[in-house]
Amino acid sequence: MTTAAQTQLPGFHLAATPAAPALTDAEGTVDTAPDLTPGSALRRRRDRTATIVMWSSFALAMVPLAWILLTVTRNGIQLLTASSW
């Protein structure tokens, strides 16, 4: 497969795509490293808040289940074990 053939493919304009402009900082030095710094403080805080909300909502959903199981077992077990039948 030649490069020429590739550029002829509809929808693939590899040759026509201009090279991405080099990223330069204030001093004019080329910055080639990708920017992998985490998002802004606000975005990170929102993300962390959401995580906390999700975990605590699951914990909250478990409260009635545990409570019911505990109540039923605690009140029922002695009747089941102590009965004379």
Partner: protein
Amino acid sequence: MSEAAAVAPAPALTTTPRGHAADRAFAWSARGAGLLVMALVTLIGLFLLWQAVPSLQANEASFLTSREWDLNATTPRFGVADLLWTTVTASVWAMMLAVPLGVCVALFITQYAPDWLRTPAAALVDLLAAVPSIVYGLWGLIVLRPVVAPVETWIAHTFGWFPLFAPTPITGGTIFFIGVVLAVMILPIVTAISREVFAATPAPHREAALALGATRWEMIRTAVLPYGRPGVVSAAMLALGRALGETIAVTFIVSTLAPGSAFTASLFNGGETFASRIANNAAEFDSPRKTGAFIAAGLVLFVLTFVVNAIARVVVDRRKAFTE
């Protein structure tokens, strides 16, 4: 196409008479099952209507707007305004509690929980649906009530100027409390259905959001929630349908008001739902006219649930066009 004669005919493409008959039988049985369901629903509606009409004709009060319920007089007077109010407020309040919580739990299970926790967490939430409603009634009345009562007192004390939170002398099962218990009961429904749709979010949608630098929450907001919205709507409506018709837990808990007591819009008032009024008065079904009054109340509940489900259907179908 001279070669075609030499090639053996593909057997899979021809339908034998027997295969044809099986196809037709299946088509008819599927059609029959569908029609049977529709016929059953229609017949239930017709039965309710047929039983209710004589009582409604004898009724001297306005059925939909009256608050009276007197079936023993020579001219019965009954209306469902109170029942409608209690049923709808308690169910909507339950939905307001359970839907956000259920969606969060579903998001937790599908997006946040570590792999080892995912399946047990889902099973535990489903277990809430396995608790019999009579157990919810007992637990609510005996165990949960003393815990919620101080909260109610505090809200009524602090926000009592707002009509919904006006203080009332009711100390037992209030509409507010019914909503809390119903919320626990419908939580597994909301969670189970939302979980299904969130889990079905196409991986490329989520990966694209993450690849563009979205945080996990941003990925959920831009990919998972829009995709799951119709499912969440139908989950909420199914849950509402369950809450509207819930009988035994409500009958257990709710404080029945004395006949003729004044109407207040407070959530801290008692009251009866359609289902609990019917269940509480099962001993009164001794004459067709009295029975008919309760059946008329049941008919309103039937129509209410039907309308809620129909709205859900419409919302889900309309939203689908935008998400797919």
